[in-house]
């Protein structure tokens, strides 16, 4: 049995999902020879540390009841620097402007030779090369499947399962909020503003939906795909971005009359990285509805491979994180 000592830095929806999934899958992990011990957890107000392993069901309950897990005033980055452990699970909120605390956490983790599994796109969209170089020099494992497409496997699919194929292009829907709004605008023949309000009420869109609806969330994911799968060296500013805020219900109806639906499509091919509303034929594999994500990977040998799945959600994102953890440490 291999014991992995881990910290969870950021205990919002995704961090809690990770704790729940670790609890739920303890036996399965032991069956493949892994004993995952969470020795430290940090949220925005403080931290809990226990060298023998934190009781995960107690800590989840504490978070729900009191809104925080803080038992002492220690920050995430202090945990990364001072608590002895192997793996940092970085699930702080993303900052696409500066990389924020996530970037600091990741660099600190590599600085102390720790591995990192993250769902935090911002740092990767801004400083991909730098992070990869620092991780490589430190000999640290670094995985980030959860940053693109949530539960939908795409990075590991392209790298591992499709190994040997040349990836020619990727085209898909990488933002569930936009997909929901556009799908509902068509169904109800309602305005963008009305359907945005509905999705905010349902918790699908955030109070400030800018990142999603203006396309920057999709753009960040495209940058990660471009760098990781296509070996490019690009950042957020290299993406040609158009959001969905100008789409009218009339446009959706006209498109429908021609046999199309309108989706916010992200694409990477050659030197082109673009996020824009596009016409997708009704019945095409990319024409998925609701909050689903989808991606078509065009390869030289396997042809086109299309995957679809849930792009967000606490447990779904934790699924991608768990899969990264298992592939890092599986004996």
């Amino acid at each position: 049995m291999r014991t992995i000592r881990a910290s969870i830095i950021g205990f919002g929806s995704v961090g809690q999902g990770v704790a729940e999934v670790f609890l739920q899958k303890r036996e399965e992990l032991e069956n493949i020879g892994l004993d995952l011990k969470v020795v430290a957890i940090a949220d925005s107000r403080g931290a809990e540390i226990n060298n023998e392993g934190i009781d995960l069901s107690e800590i989840i309950a504490r978070k729900r009841e009191t809104g925080t897990i803080a038992s002492r005033q220690i920050t995430g980055v202090e945990i990364i620097r001072n608590v002895e452990h192997d793996l940092v699970i970085e699930t702080t909120p993303t900052d696409v402007e500066t990389g924020g605390v996530g970037l600091e956490n990741m660099l600190a983790a590599f600085g102390h030779g720790r591995d990192v599994v993250t769902s935090n796109k911002g740092p990767l969209a801004l400083k991909y090369r730098e992070l990869m170089d620092v991780a490589r020099e430190a000999g640290s494992g670094f995985r980030f499947e959860a940053t693109v497409g949530g539960a939908m496997p795409i990075l590991n699919l392209a790298h591992d399962t499709l190994a040997g194929n040349k990836i020619i292009s990727i085209e898909g829907i990488l933002n569930g909020t936009c997909n929901y709004i556009l799908s509902r605008m068509m169904e109800e023949q309602a305005s963008y503003e009305q359907m945005l309000a509905e999705s905010q009420e349902l918790g699908i869109a955030e109070t400030d939906p800018t990142n999603d609806v203006e396309g920057s969330d999709t753009a960040c994911k495209l940058v990660i795909l471009a760098n990781s799968i296509f070996g490019m060296d690009v950042n957020y500013n290299d993406v040609d971005v158009t959001g969905i805020t100008k789409i009218t219900p009339e446009a959706l109806i006209l498109a429908n009359d021609e046999g199309y639906t309108i989706k916010l499509i992200g694409e990477v091919k050659d030197d082109l990285i673009r996020a824009s509303p596009r016409l997708v034929p009704i019945g095409h594999p990319l024409a998925v509805g609701g909050t689903l994500n989808v991606a078509s990977i065009q390869t030289d040998l396997a042809g086109t491979v299309t995957i679809t799945g849930r792009g967000a959600g606490s447990i779904e994102t934790a699924s991608a994180i768990l899969s990264d953890v298992v592939s890092l440490y599986r004996p």
Partner: protein
């Protein structure tokens, strides 16, 4: 451009070659030949049906070369626009000179706007339109949409074009 052509050959050796050479000399790409040697026209010639891709500017030269070789051209049917595409525009479509938008595509010579449908729900709100564009080939359809995208930037219109899979 795709051309379908009916020609008639004399029943003497070497005629088929003199019918096909002018096409290949002018870089035409032969798609199909239907040749029934046992059939005869009332004039005693052998009918032949050809389909080929060729540069529109070369078609007249191909026909005159054929006639010079003694081949009778009895029917020529050019199907110029073999690719069809649709795009959606959103914005102040009419007030930004819709006629100019359409003419810019039509003036390319390789693509045409063949249908436009407009929805203008209220004054002062954005209009939406669907445009059908025909073009002489996939590349030209793609080029026409790129031109439209450039016009749209100048006129502050949003162009929604088909996904890559639809255009390649």
């Amino acid at each position: 451009m795709r051309v379908s052509m009916d020609i008639e050959l004399k029943d003497i050796p070497g005629q088929l070659l003199s019918a096909l050479n002018p096409i290949s000399e002018l870089k035409g790409n032969l798609k199909s030949i239907v040749h029934h040697h046992e059939k005869r026209t009332p004039r005693g010639t052998i009918p032949l049906q050809l389909v080929f891709e060729a540069d529109p500017e070369c078609l007249d030269a191909i026909i005159s070369k054929l006639e010079k070789n003694g081949v009778d051209v009895t029917r020529v049917d050019e199907k110029r626009f073999v690719e069809h595409g649709a795009v959606i525009l959103i914005g102040h479509i009419v007030h930004t000179d819709v006629e100019d938008t359409i003419e810019t595509i039509d003036n390319t010579g390789f693509a045409e706007v063949v249908d436009i449908r407009l929805s203008m729900p209220h004054i002062d709100t954005s209009s939406s339109a669907s445009l059908k564009i025909d073009a002489i080939g996939k590349k030209e359809l793609h080029d026409a949409i790129t031109i439209l995208r450039d016009i749209a930037v100048k006129k502050d219109l949003l162009v929604i074009e088909p996904i890559r899979a639809e255009l390649s």
